[in-house]
């Protein structure tokens, strides 16, 4: 999971989303199709080619007040249409650490 912070050129194949952290509280968010953000991956706009990804990403980074650190991230789509995170880094962002935290939430 090479840090996407080093993302410069956007070249994608397969379904992707644009994700970031919410400025005020750092919550993980995804860019939706209607120019907003959601904390639910299910609401994320899916892009499938480099141009669309670039456009969605540019739209996201224009929202400098609402979101920090936007980047393009892969997803996988199940047979039933469920959108799931597409690599380990994104799985961790969705589900949290891969071990139990010291204090039960």
């Amino acid at each position: 999971m090479t840090s996407p912070l080093e993302q410069k050129k956007i070249k994608i194949t397969g379904p992707h989303v644009v994700t970031a952290n919410r400025t005020g509280d750092g919550a993980v968010i995804w860019r939706t199709a209607n120019k907003g953000w959601s904390v639910d991956l299910a609401d994320a706009a899916i892009v499938r080619n480099s141009d669309a990804a670039k456009a969605l990403w540019n739209e996201a980074i224009a929202d400098d007040v609402g979101a920090v650190g936007s980047y393009v991230a892969p997803v996988v789509i199940d047979a039933d249409g469920t959108v799931k995170p597409g690599n380990l880094r994104e799985r961790i962002r969705v589900s949290g650490t891969t071990f139990e935290l010291p204090v039960a939430v």
Partner: protein, 552 residues
């Protein structure tokens, strides 16, 4: 323990007010993220995978019990009930909200705690030996100088926008417990042949993509001249350090590219212009700083009191005492390490409940003082030996008495991909698995002193280059792989570890560590030949053969 005076406290309060205003301007859009990022970093505020992270400074690793209670309070109120102690004697909170940060910082400031310059391209936390002030082998208490340097470095108008981060460490012994040679500046306090107290100054250490060990730039700098000399180094670096490539921007690269002699000459030329200026240190200034350090009122005690003799029959107590208790310069007292390396848990983490327990125990048994080591363990620096059994019982109840200090399960690990947005791979689960495989205390003691360091990316926050066994997480085709080195050392004999072979996938990493350990047990000359000495004697080859014999 240094007590802030009104000036120190005022500055911290003013910093909180400034940051509150900067957060307001960020949330309103007056500041862009690009403009805000440097400012938040200079307050220790990072963005990570799940949330913001706050890195709080614990200057030269010294904490009062009151401050520890406040760290627990912040963990509870603003985070998820725990904190993580780091390899630079700081503490990190991983689930912070930006909008709550000014309040969290105000709470911390009320006890003189802050996150000033724990990140950013400025001078970071000045670190030292976690045994400073109580070690039998030190020349003087290095913390007085660390505090002087800390004040000098805080909000320095000329050096707040350096080419890159700048880390300074201070020691006052021959034996280096602060890893001086992996710092941008390492300062060793000693007495020269004429009995004068002064400093050996080393420059250009640092890990990461291009690791270097620091070289001595000047073997003796007087007490009067040390600040102006450091200023000269920083000014040369600020002007000539590379700014075109963040991987080539540390002072180690400048020292390497110029060569130490040329670099030393540049510094000397600059220093000669400023050495008699206002940074020349008056001994009165040092005495003034020292006057705000309080030292324990030690009693006259014996080393083997009845309480200790009575507890000798308890095997678990004895195992802990032999492992975690160290000699103190005052008879009848001991330095106690609190292992934060519970088997199967995250190295360096402590819950708020544990922090409160430690604060109470510090009050009761250690004159209210706690230390943080770069090995991610804590220390109670001055415990009367008669109190060891009672202390142990309390630590044991709080899961702070795992008798694995300096052993294989005393692992140093960065947060890695589970938390950090710079990471390529996870580090904590590897550490947890290793500790589980070597959980048996007899096995761990059979192996003896063995430092494992794990970093989740090349930034090397886990200091893997200088681990006896170093593990570096990398990414290959979307999978986690681990490069393994052996033979690194962080002390006065510092050296970088050597790669034993190609990176192995996540599923094999811990097996490789087991193979290395088995090879060591077979190859060592005597049971008391340490792992690091066996590697030195035999080199990497025998280990390499063993590990890669069954792997392709």
């Amino acid at each position: 323990m240094y007590a802030y005076d009104e000036l120190d406290r005022t500055l911290v309060r003013e910093r909180v007010d400034e940051f509150r205003d900067q957060v307001r301007r960020r949330l309103s859009g007056e500041l862009t993220e690009d403009e805000f990022k440097s400012l938040r970093l200079m307050n220790g505020v990072y963005l990570q995978l799940h949330a913001y992270m706050l890195r709080v400074a614990i200057p030269y690793g010294t904490l009062s019990s009151q401050q520890m209670r406040m760290l627990a309070h912040v963990a509870r109120k603003y985070d998820r009930g725990y904190g993580h102690f780091t390899t630079r004697q700081n503490i990190q909170y991983h689930w912070i909200k930006l909008e709550q940060l000014p309040d969290a910082m105000a709470d911390l400031a009320s006890v003189g705690v802050h996150g000033i310059q724990t990140s950013g391209n400025c001078i970071r936390n000045i670190t030292t030996d976690q045994w400073a002030g109580v070690a039998p082998d030190e020349v003087e208490d290095p913390r007085v100088w660390a505090e002087l340097f800390r004040q000098y470095a805080t909000l320095h108008p000329e050096f707040s926008f350096l080419p890159r981060k700048f880390k300074i460490a201070v020691m006052a012994c021959e034996h280096d417990r602060a890893a001086l040679r992996i710092h941008d500046i390492g300062v060793r306090i000693y007495r020269n042949g004429a009995g004068e107290s002064g400093f050996e100054v080393m420059v250009g250490g640092g890990l990461g993509r291009t690791p270097f060990l620091a070289k001595t730039i000047k073997p003796f700098v007087s007490r009067r001249d040390i600040l102006s000399y450091i200023e000269a180094i920083l000014r040369v670096y600020n002007q000539y350090g590379r700014r075109d490539n963040i991987y080539k921007a540390r002072i180690k690269i400048l020292v390497h590219e110029l060569g130490i002699e040329k670099f030393a000459q540049e510094v000397e030329d600059e220093w000669l212009e400023m050495k008699d200026g206002p940074l020349a240190i008056d001994e009165a200034i040092v005495n003034d700083i020292r006057s705000r350090f309080t030292y324990p009122a030690y009693e006259k005690l014996v080393d083997n009191p009845p309480e200790l003799k009575a507890a000798a029959g308890d095997a678990r107590f004895e195992a802990w005492r032999r492992n975690s208790v160290f000699h103190h310069k005052v008879p009848g007292y001991a330095i106690v390490t609190l292992s934060l390396k519970e088997i199967g848990k995250t190295p360096g983490d402590a819950t708020a409940a544990q922090m409160d327990a430690i604060a109470d125990l510090a009050d009761r048994y250690s004159f209210g003082e706690i230390r943080v080591g770069h090995e991610q363990n804590l220390v109670l620096p001055s415990v009367a030996r008669r109190d060891l059994p009672a202390l142990w019982r309390a630590l044991d109840a709080a899961n702070l008495a795992t008798a694995n200090v300096n052993l294989i399960s005393d692992i140093i690990a960065c947060p890695g991909l589970d938390y950090c947005s710079l990471a390529n791979a996870r580090s904590i689960p590897i550490a947890q698995e290793i500790s589980k495989r070597f959980a048996n205390p007899e096995t761990a003691n059979l192996i003896g002193r063995l430092h494992i360091n794990i970093s989740g990316c090349i930034n090397a926050c886990g200091h893997h280059h200088v681990g006896h066994i170093g593990i570096l997480g990398v990414e290959k085709n979307g999978e986690e792989f681990y490069q393994i080195t052996i033979g690194g050392k962080a002390d006065e004999g510092a050296q970088l570890g050597a790669l034993i072979g190609p990176a192995v996938p996540y599923a094999q990493a811990v097996d490789v560590v087991e193979d290395i350990v088995e090879a060591y047990l077979d190859l060592r000359m005597r049971p008391d030949e340490l792992f690091i000495d066996t590697v030195k004697r035999l080199g990497v080859e025998p280990f390499k053969e063993r590990v890669y014999a069954t792997r392709q």
